[in-house]
């Protein structure tokens, strides 16, 4: 799909937790060919301290209504500004950016998301569901406040929850969830979230010889491969997360796992 710089209209802005909100966006461009794992680069208007765009994963696409969703966590100035967007306001996006999760030969997958890292997983779950690929979905967070949209995930797979404080689901880190006690026959682990979490997920996958793809969130200037600021160290050297990622097979990364 050709990349474009497009003005979207905010159809709704829904607060999901104390720090997370969901933007529903529409525009003229056709979203049919957007892939799970891809992201957009957002211009934050009226924000004196936000010079560069801000990258956010495509949380979901409603192809029928040609509507795009972003799930955003308030982390700093830009995301907090976006949290105050009103219905009807304008939002300029560059999209679609980056590669996508791969699911060519996958039969049974587990999707593991932590914090706001879950963002791209909903769209992925939906696509897997469309392709009749069975999936387990494991959502983790610090507390119940971090866990949002559980019913949405449940539509596309068996959904499990852990929180560090035990306020929802099992208590503990995602990688300690009881689902890992028995081998569920997954042939793919997809993960997105804080790097330490993804690293333990990657370790699990490696030890169990399951393919594993993770989505990285390196800081970016351009998002289109022209500045070389967003690199990650791989077996092929420094490569751009915004074009050759954000999704990487862990075999390609030089993680010490």
């Amino acid at each position: 799909m050709k990349k474009s710089i497009t003005d979207f209209t905010v159809l709704s802005n829904t607060r999901l937790s104390s720090t997370q909100f969901l933007l529903e966006l529409s525009s003229d461009i056709l979203l049919n060919d957007v892939l799970p794992g891809q992201f957009v680069n957002v211009k934050v208007e009226d924000s004196p301290q936000t010079f560069l765009r801000r990258p956010f994963s495509i949380h979901s696409v409603d192809a029928k209504r040609n509507v795009l969703f972003l799930l955003i966590k308030e982390m700093g100035i830009g995301s907090t500004k976006l949290a105050s967007l009103q219905k009807g306001s304008n939002l300029n996006l560059i999209l679609p950016l980056g590669n996508s999760f791969s699911f060519g030969n996958v039969k049974k997958a587990i999707l593991i998301g932590g914090g706001c890292g879950v963002a791209p997983l909903l769209f992925l779950a939906k696509k897997l569901h469309e392709k009749d690929i069975h999936c387990d979905i494991l959502l983790g967070g610090r507390s119940s406040d971090d866990i949002v949209e559980v019913e949405e995930y449940q539509k596309y797979g068996t959904t499990h929850i852990t929180t560090e404080d035990g306020s929802l689901g099992e208590k503990g880190l995602v990688t300690k969830h009881s689902i890992f006690n028995s081998n569920k026959g997954w042939d793919m682990v997809y993960s997105c979230g804080p790097e330490p979490m993804m690293k333990s997920v990657a370790m699990y996958a490696k030890q169990n010889e399951i393919e594993c793809e993770v989505s990285l969130e390196n800081t970016m200037a351009c998002g289109i491969g022209s500045c070389l600021c967003c690199v990650t160290d791989t077996i092929d050297g420094n490569i751009c997360v915004c074009t050759e990622g954000p999704v990487f097979n862990i075999k390609r990364l030089k993680w010490q796992i």
Partner: protein, 303 residues
């Protein structure tokens, strides 16, 4: 409609708007957004003799009205450029200028010798001002003698248009400009990034893996404009101006200050189609003010 053509030595540009090295990839990155052929020229990524991995991540930090980068000349080397990139872009209906970087004079020479075989590379931009590499780089650009030495060496092997890109991290940029003019540079371009730094107060570590990095974007525009004005007064060869240009107004300021052409860098990151708006804006300004050619404003600051 005003005539936008400008000339930088033997280089004819259909308009004075080029893209700055390291901010526009090799061109294909922008094909979805603009017609590359509409530009006056593109300056491709800093190219070195050997492949370079650049610096480690993190390489970027946002700053007030600007950004710091510490890419460190990551590129796959001149041979890769010649074999794998050039074939993809040589058809562009615009001037393709290669930004040549290095740590040793011999490296600069070798890169230029290799590039001179390429028909559709009418000019190089000699980067003697990269702040993000350990040896060489900026060092060449901060003393007149070193700048002269590398210019002279490259002049011997590069017969086509030679643009030397200057560092702003100096006491007297006009002197450096004059010393490269004396050694046969056909034009100078400026400014490269200002050396800057940023710190994460929570981790108490620098935001860049290299501690310091190059500052670019609107924040540096006043400094860049001043230097372009100073250099344009000091040399007879054409000056290519850049530093923070984000709209047509900025570009026109540089032209008035004496730049014969301008380059757009960091602004491409925020709006990948900004160069086209800038070209249109310059044209509108000329028409509105009844100028028939962009030369009617180049260096025409009244002071």
């Amino acid at each position: 409609m005003a005539d936008l053509n400008v000339r930088i030595h033997n280089l004819l540009l259909k308009n004075p708007v080029m893209t700055a090295s390291g901010t526009f990839g090799y061109g294909p990155e922008f094909e979805d957004f603009i017609d590359i052929g509409a530009l006056g020229g593109i300056v491709v990524k800093g190219t070195t003799l050997e492949p370079r991995q650049g610096n480690s991540y993190p390489r970027m930090a946002e700053t007030p009205a600007g950004m710091l980068n510490a890419v460190g000349l990551q590129n796959k080397g001149v041979d890769y450029f010649i074999n794998s990139i050039y074939p993809l872009i040589q058809h562009y209906n615009t001037n393709i200028i290669v930004n040549v970087s290095g740590s040793l004079v011999e490296d600069y020479i070798k890169v230029c010798e290799k590039l001179s075989a390429l028909k559709n590379i009418p000019a190089i931009e000699l980067n003697i001002s990269c702040p993000n590499v350990k040896e060489g780089g900026m060092a060449f650009g901060t003393s007149c003698a070193a700048a002269a030495t590398v210019t002279k060496a490259v002049r011997n092997v590069w017969p086509k248009t030679l643009i030397v890109k200057l560092s702003p991290n100096v006491t007297n940029i006009a002197e450096i400009a004059k010393s490269v003019e004396d050694e046969g540079a056909d034009a100078v371009s400026l400014i490269n990034t200002l050396l800057g730094m940023a710190i994460n107060i929570d981790t108490r570590k620098p935001l860049l893996s290299t501690v310091t990095g190059g500052l670019s974007g609107p924040a540096i525009k006043p400094v860049a404009l001043r230097m372009v004005w100073q250099v344009a007064k000091a040399v007879k060869i054409p000056v290519v101006g850049m530093g923070g240009i984000s709209n047509a107004k900025d570009a026109i300021e540089f032209l008035l200050a004496g730049a014969s052409a301008i380059q757009v860098g960091t602004a491409n990151f925020i709006d990948p189609a900004i160069t086209i708006s800038i070209i249109k804006g310059i044209e509108e300004y000329l028409d509105k003010n009844h100028f028939s050619s962009v030369y009617d404003i180049i260096g025409k600051l009244e002071c």
